[in-house]
C-alpha cells in the first residue's frame, strides 16, 4: 500500500513522486470542498426545522463545490500529462538497457522471447504508468481523506462525533490490508491458472496444422474444453471463499460509516449537543467516509497488473551489463597491425561449459578466411565476439589494434559489419534499410551496392524504387533476397571488417552464386566467413576448422 520501493536507480522516480504528492494534495482538497458542501447541505435541508436562512448554507455549499471542481480539474489535468510522460521516460530507460545488453545478452533464442519483450515495452509500460501515475496517487489520497472529513466534522459540527467515528476509521486499513493479503493469494493462484490455460490455448492454435495432419484436432479441442472446465470450477471455488472478504468489507463500510454516523447523529441530537442541520450533516459526511471503498475495485485490476508490469521492468533494468570483469591491461603478444589478433581466448556463456578453448587467430588486413564447423561448434560465438556483441573476460582479443573490453565495445562494433543468417528488414523504405550503416550514403552508393548483390534490376522494377516500403507490411522479399540486402547494407556501411555467418545456408542457388561473387569482389576488406557445408567453400586465403573450441588449419 505504501508507494512502491523508492528506487533511486530510476531518476524519473523523483518527478513521479512529486506528481503523486500533487495528486494526494488535490484529492484531500477535493474532499475538503465536498465536506464543506455536505455541511452546508445538511443545514440547508433542515433550515425549516432550525428556522434559519437558506442563504448562508447555500453559499457555503457553493463555495465547497467550487473548490472541489477546481481541484478535480487540476488533478485530472496533471494526471493526463504525468501518465504520458512517465511512459515515455520508462520506455527510453528500458530500450537503452536493451541496447546496452545487446543481441546476445537480452533475448532468449525463442522467437516468443522477442514478442514478450515488445509486449512488455508497449502494453506493460502502459499498465505500469496507469497504475503509478494514474491511480496510485488518487488512491492514496482517498485512503487518507477520512482524516479531512473528520476534521471538518469536528470543527463545523461536533468534535465528539468526530472522535467516535475516528475510532471506526482504523477498520479501513485493517480490512483493506486483509483483502490485499487474501486477495493476493487467490489472485496469484487464479492468475497462474488463467495464464496456464491461456498458454495451452495458444499452443493448440500454434500447433493446429500439426494436429490437422495427425487427425487430432477433435481430441485437442476436447482437452481444451475439459481443462477449461476444470480450471473454472477450481478457480470459482477459490473465489467463492475469498470473495467473502469483500462481503465483510462492504458490510464493514456500510455499518461503520453510514450506519454508525446515523446512530451517532441520533444520539448527539437527543442529548441536545447538535442541531438538526448538524445531525443531517453527520449522515451526509458518513457517505464521504466511504470513498476508499470505491477505490478498492480499481486497485485490484489496475494495481495488480500495474505492479506486475513494474516488477518485470525492474527485472529487466536489473540485469547486469555484460561488463566483463577486471584486468583490462595491455596484453602482450597481440599484433597491432593485424585486423584480428586473438591469443588464448577462452569463452563460456554464464553457467555453461566453455565454448571456445584456448583459441588463437591472426588475420592480417585484407585477408579472407573461412571457418568450417558443425552447428553448435562455436562459430557463431566467435563471430559475436569479433563483432563486439560479446566481451571476453580476459584481455585476449584485439580488433584493428583495439583491445575488446566493455569500454571499447562500441568502437569495436563500428569496425565490423555482421551479416547474420537471419536478417531483419525494418518497416521503412528500401533506401533507409540500406542506409542503416551509413546514414549519409548517397543514392549512387546504394545502387552500386545493389548492383554488387545482383538486386539492382529488381529494385528498379519496384513500385517506388528505392522508396518502396519493405519489411513485414511491405514488399515481399524472399530469404535469399533478404540475405543479399543484408550484404548490400554491409557494403554500403563501408566497414573494413566483414563478418558473414553462414551467408548462403538458407538461400536459393542463384542467390548463393551472386553472394559468393559479391564477396569475392570485395578485395579491399577483411572477410571472415563461417559455414557448415564443405561444398560452399570458395577459394579463400585460408580455411580453418573449428575443433573442440579452437581453430585448426585445414587444407582444401
Amino acid at each position: 500500500m505504501i508507494p512502491g520501493r523508492h528506487r533511486e536507480r530510476r531518476p524519473e522516480q523523483r518527478a513521479a513522486t512529486r506528481v503523486v504528492q500533487v495528486q494526494v494534495t488535490a484529492r484531500l482538497l477535493t474532499t475538503f470542498g465536498l465536506a464543506v458542501t455536505m455541511v452546508g447541505l445538511g443545514r440547508l435541508i433542515t433550515a425549516t426545522i432550525t428556522q434559519q436562512q437558506v442563504t448562508q448554507p447555500v453559499a457555503m455549499s457553493l463555495t465547497g463545490v467550487g473548490l472541489a471542481m477546481v481541484t478535480t480539474w487540476f488533478s485530472s489535468w496533471v494526471t493526463g500529462r504525468a501518465v504520458a510522460n512517465h511512459q515515455a521516460s520508462i520506455r527510453q530507460l528500458a530500450l537503452i538497457k536493451l541496447f546496452d545488453l545487446g543481441p546476445v545478452g537480452s533475448l532468449d533464442d525463442e522467437p516468443d522471447g522477442s514478442g514478450a519483450m515488445v509486449s512488455l515495452l508497449t502494453d506493460g509500460i502502459e499498465r505500469l504508468s496507469k497504475w503509478e501515475q494514474g491511480f496510485r496517487g488518487p488512491m492514496l489520497g482517498a485512503m487518507v481523506s477520512p482524516i479531512v472529513v473528520l476534521g471538518v466534522l469536528a470543527v463545523a459540527i461536533d468534535p465528539l462525533s468526530a472522535l467516535v467515528l475516528a475510532c471506526c476509521v482504523p477498520f479501513i486499513p485493517l480490512t483493506v490490508g486483509g483483502f490485499q493479503r487474501a486477495f493476493r493469494k487467490v489472485s496469484g493462484e487464479s492468475r497462474r491458472a488463467k495464464a496456464h490455460l491461456a498458454s495451452r490455448f495458444m499452443e493448440a492454435i500454434q500447433g493446429l496444422v500439426t494436429l490437422t495432419v495427425l487427425g487430432a484436432t477433435a481430441v485437442m479441442g476436447q482437452r481444451l474444453a475439459e481443462a477449461g472446465e476444470r480450471n473454472r470450477r477450481h478457480t470459482m471455488s477459490l473465489l467463492a471463499r475469498n470473495q467473502l472478504v469483500l462481503l465483510v468489507a462492504d458490510l464493514a463500510f456500510s455499518l461503520f460509516m453510514v450506519s454508525a454516523s446515523g446512530a451517532i447523529a441520533w444520539w448527539r441530537l437527543l442529548t441536545g449537543q447538535i442541531d438538526a442541520g448538524g445531525a443531517l450533516g453527520i449522515v451526509l459526511l458518513g457517505v464521504l467516509l466511504c470513498a476508499p471503498m470505491e477505490m478498492i475495485g480499481g486497485f485490484f485490476y489496475i494495481g495488480m497488473s500495474g505492479r506486475a508490469a513494474s516488477r518485470r521492468i525492474d527485472a529487466l533494468l536489473d540485469i547486469p551489463s555484460t561488463s566483463g570483469t577486471t584486468a583490462i591491461g595491455e596484453s602482450t603478444g597481440l599484433a597491432d597491425q593485424s585486423m584480428i589478433a586473438i591469443r588464448g581466448l577462452n569463452f563460456a556463456y554464464p553457467g555453461r561449459s566453455p565454448v571456445l578453448i584456448d583459441l588463437d587467430l591472426d588475420v592480417p588486413r585484407g585477408h579472407r578466411i573461412t571457418i568450417l564447423g558443425a552447428s553448435g561448434s562455436g562459430k557463431s560465438t566467435l563471430l559475436s565476439l569479433l563483432a563486439g556483441d560479446l566481451v571476453p573476460d580476459d584481455a585476449s582479443l584485439k580488433i584493428n589494434g583495439v583491445l575488446l573490453a566493455p569500454k571499447t565495445r562500441d568502437l569495436i562494433r563500428s569496425t565490423s559489419a555482421l551479416v547474420n543468417q537471419h536478417t531483419w528488414l525494418f518497416r521503412t523504405c528500401l533506401a533507409e534499410n540500406l542506409r542503416v550503416g551509413a546514414p549519409k550514403a548517397d543514392d549512387r552508393e546504394l545502387w552500386d551496392a545493389l548492383d554488387a548483390v545482383g538486386l539492382a534490376d529488381w529494385a528498379r522494377r519496384l513500385p517506388a524504387g528505392l522508396d518502396t516500403q519493405v519489411g513485414e507490411q511491405g514488399v515481399a522479399v524472399s530469404g535469399g533476397q533478404a540475405q543479399r540486402l543484408s550484404l548490400a547494407r554491409a557494403i554500403v556501411s563501408g566497414r573494413q571488417l566483414l563478418l558473414l555467418d553462414e551467408p548462403t545456408s538458407q538461400v536459393d542457388l542463384e542467390s548463393e552464386r551472386v553472394i559468393m561473387e559479391a564477396i569475392n569482389s570485395l578485395t579491399d576488406r577483411t572477410i571472415v566467413m563461417t559455414t557448415h557445408r564443405a561444398t560452399a567453400i570458395r577459394p579463400a586465403d585460408r580455411l580453418l576448422t573449428m575443433v573442440d573450441g579452437h581453430l585448426e588449419e585445414t587444407h582444401q
Binding site: 485530472s76 504520458a84 499452443e203 494436429l211 495427425l214 487427425g215 456500510s254 453510514v258 445531525a279 536459393d508
Partner: protein
C-alpha cells in the same frame, strides 16, 4: 437491422446469459439497498430532529435508535450479500465466456488452419485474436452489469422522486442526470473521438517501432544506430504526450462532479423553499445522490464499447471465414497400398490479404509412382515445401491438379488423406506434454513396444531411454528441452506411428549430422518398403540412393541441373 457480429456474439455466449442476468439482478438489488441505506438514515435523522425541535412531522420511519440501528444493520448485510453475489456471478460469466469464445475460435480455425499459416502476418492475427477475446470477456463480465444499472436506477429514482414529492424537482433531477450522463461525455465530442483515433494510430506506430528495435537489435547495435532509434522513439512518444494532454478529460471530470453537487444543492433549495416536509427533502436528496453515483460507469462504458465491438468484429471475421480447402459433398476414397503422387501442370501462388506475392510454383509436372523413394532438391524459396503441402491438400493449387493414388485431391476429404499420408517438417509442433502423449496424439492407445519400435527407426530410442522419465518426460517450454535434431526425430517417430502409405519429409535432416541422417534414411527404407517416401532437401547426401531426383529452383523444375547435383552427391 440485425448486426451479424452481435447475433454471433449472442449465440456463442448463450450459456452465459443466465448468470449474466443474475449478475445484473444482484447489481440492481445492491444499488437499491445503497439508496435505501442512505435514504432511511437521512430520513430517520431528519425526522427525529424535527420531532425534537417540535415541528410536526408526517410520520416517523423509526422511533428509537435501536430500531434505526437494526434496520441499518439488516440493510448493510443485505447490501453486502448482494454485492458479493454480483461479483461472484460476474466472475462466473467472465470465466465461462472466455472458455466459450476460445473454444469457438478453435473450432472455427480448424477448417482454415492450413491456409492461414501460409498467410503473412498470421502469427500477429492469431495473437491479436486471443487479446480480442480477453477484451470481449472483460466487457461482458465487468462492464455490462454496471452499465445496465446506470440507466435503470436513475429512471427508477426519478420516478420515485416524482411519486413521493414534487414533479418539478423530479424533472429537474432528470434533466441534470441526462446532462451528466449523455452530454458531458460528448464534450470536445468529435475532437475527442478524432484524438482517440489518432492516439490509436500513433500507438500502432510505436508498437511497430519497438518491434523493429527488438527484432532488429543486431542491426541496430551493430551499425551504431542506437541513438537514432532512441530519438525516433522519443519523437513518437512526444506525439502521444501532446495528444494526451488536451485537458478534455479534466473538464469532463470536473463538470461531472460539479453537476452532481449542484443538483443536490438545487434540489435541497427547491424543496426547502417550497416548504416540503424536510424528511421528504432529505430522502429526495439521498435518492438523487445515489442516482448520480449509479451513472458513473457510463463514461468507461462509452469509451470501451467501440473498441470491444471492433474486437468482436475481428474475431467474428476470423470465425466466419470459409473452410479452406472447401469440403466435398461425396468424397472419393483413396486406393489401398502405397500411394503415387502426380503434381499435374501445376502453378501456385500463396494467397495474401495484403500484398501480391511471387508465385511459389510455376508449370510444375512431377510424377512419383507408388513405393518409390524420391528426393526433391532445392534451396529455400524453391517451392519444395509448397509441393509437399499441396500433396496433403493444405490448399488447392491455383492452377492444375494434385493427383494422389489416381484420385484428384479436390474430390477427396482431407481427413481421409491424413490417415494415409503424413508430413514431417520444420514446423511439426511438439506439445508441452509427455513424449508418449506427443507420439500418440490422435491415435488412442498404443502399446509401449510399438512406441519403442518407431523410436528405434527414428534413431532416437537410446536418447529417450536416457531421459529422466523416459517416455513420460515432458517436452516443451517448462520441461526438458530437446535439441532441434531430437525434436525432429520425435516428430518423425510420431508420423511413423500412423503407418503412412505416403510419407513426406521436409528437410528432416536439417539438424542432424550427416552420418545420423544416413542411418535414419536407411532405417526408413528398411522399415517402410511399401511406402512412397518423398524427401525435400537442400543437401546432397542421400541423393545417390534415391529412386528419383527432381531439382527445383525458384518454383521451376530444372531437369538440366539433376546431373550436376547427382555428380556432386557422389563426391
Amino acid at each position: 437491422m440485425k448486426d451479424p457480429v452481435v447475433t454471433w456474439l449472442l449465440r456463442v455466449s448463450r450459456p452465459v446469459l443466465r448468470p449474466l442476468g443474475a449478475a445484473v439482478l444482484f447489481r440492481h438489488l445492491d444499488q437499491i439497498c445503497a439508496v435505501a441505506l442512505l435514504s432511511i438514515c437521512a430520513a430517520a435523522v431528519t425526522g427525529i430532529a424535527a420531532r425534537f425541535a417540535g415541528a410536526t412531522v408526517s410520520h416517523l420511519l423509526v422511533t428509537s435508535m435501536t430500531e434505526l440501528v437494526v434496520v441499518l444493520v439488516i440493510l448493510s448485510a443485505a447490501k453486502g450479500l448482494f454485492r458479493y453475489l454480483e461479483q461472484f456471478c460476474g466472475h462466473l460469466v467472465a470465466f465461462k465466456a472466455l472458455e466459450l469464445l476460445r473454444i469457438e475460435l478453435y473450432q472455427t480455425l480448424v477448417p482454415q488452419a492450413t491456409v492461414i499459416r501460409r498467410q503473412r502476418g498470421s502469427g500477429d492475427v492469431l495473437v491479436r485474436a486471443t487479446k480480442d477475446i480477453d477484451r470481449i470477456e472483460v466487457f461482458f463480465a465487468h462492464t455490462f452489469p454496471p452499465a445496465t444499472t446506470a440507466v435503470t436506477i436513475p429512471i427508477a429514482g426519478v420516478g420515485a422522486i416524482a411519486a413521493a414529492g414534487d414533479w418539478r424537482i423530479a424533472a429537474f433531477v432528470a434533466m441534470m442526470l441526462l446532462l451528466s450522463g449523455m452530454l458531458i461525455p460528448r464534450i470536445g465530442g468529435r475532437r475527442q473521438r478524432i484524438t482517440a483515433e489518432q492516439i490509436a494510430r500513433v500507438r500502432g506506430r510505436l508498437a511497430q517501432h519497438v518491434t523493429d528495435s527488438v527484432q532488429g537489435i543486431t542491426e541496430v547495435t551493430g551499425y551504431g544506430h542506437v541513438p537514432d532509434r532512441l530519438a525516433a522513439m522519443e519523437h513518437i512518444d512526444e506525439q502521444i504526450i501532446s495528444l494526451s494532454t488536451s485537458g478534455v478529460a479534466a473538464w469532463r471530470d470536473s463538470l461531472r462532479l460539479g453537476i452532481q453537487q449542484l443538483t443536490l444543492i438545487m434540489t435541497a433549495w427547491l424543496g426547502t423553499t417550497s416548504h416540503l416536509d424536510p424528511v421528504l427533502v432529505a430522502v429526495i436528496t439521498a435518492i438523487s445522490w445515489r442516482c448520480f453515483d449509479a451513472t458513473a460507469p457510463l463514461v468507461g462504458f462509452a469509451d470501451e464499447l467501440p473498441t470491444t465491438m471492433a474486437a468482436a468484429a475481428r474475431v467474428h471475421a476470423l470465425a466466419t471465414a470459409p473452410a479452406h480447402p472447401p469440403a466435398v459433398a461425396d468424397p472419393l476414397p483413396l486406393p489401398l497400398g502405397a500411394l503415387s503422387v502426380h503434381w499435374q501442370q501445376l502453378s501456385h501462388t500463396h494467397s495474401s490479404r495484403t500484398v501480391t506475392r511471387e508465385p511459389a510454383l510455376v508449370d510444375v509436372d512431377i510424377e512419383i509412382p507408388g513405393g518409390e523413394h524420391a528426393c526433391l532438391v532445392g534451396t529455400s524459396g524453391s517451392g519444395k515445401s509448397t509441393l509437399l503441402e499441396l500433396a496433403l491438400r493444405f490448399d488447392d493449387p491455383s492452377n492444375g491438379q494434385v493427383i494422389v493414388g489416381g484420385v484428384d485431391l479436390r474430390r477427396t476429404n482431407p481427413a481421409d488423406l491424413h490417415t494415409r499420408a503424413q508430413l514431417v517438417s520444420q514446423s511439426s509442433f511438439l506439445f508441452n506434454t509427455g513424449i508418449r502423449d506427443n507420439l500418440t496424439l490422435g491415435l488412442g492407445y498404443v502399446p509401449d513396444s510399438r512406441l519403442w519400435e518407431v523410436l528405434e527407426i527414428a534413431s532416437i530410442a537410446d536418447e529417450v531411454r536416457e531421459l529422466p522419465h523416459g517416455l513420460d518426460t515432458r517436452i516443451g517450454e517448462h520441461a526438458t528441452t530437446l535439441s532441434g535434431g531430437q525434436r525432429q526425430r520425435i516428430a518423425l517417430a510420431r508420423a511413423l506411428l500412423h503407418s503412412p502409405d505416403l510419407l513426406l519429409l521436409d528437410e528432416f535432416t536439417a539438424h542432424l549430422d550427416p552420418d545420423l541422417a544416413d542411418r535414419v534414411r536407411n532405417n526408413l527404407r528398411c522399415a517402410l518398403p511399401d511406402t512412397t517416401i518423398i524427401e525435400a532437401t537442400h543437401t546432397m547426401r542421400g541423393l545417390a540412393d534415391a529412386d528419383r531426383v527432381i531439382v527445383l529452383e525458384r518454383g521451376h523444375v530444372r531437369p538440366d541441373l539433376v546431373e550436376d547435383f547427382l555428380r556432386r552427391a557422389e563426391q
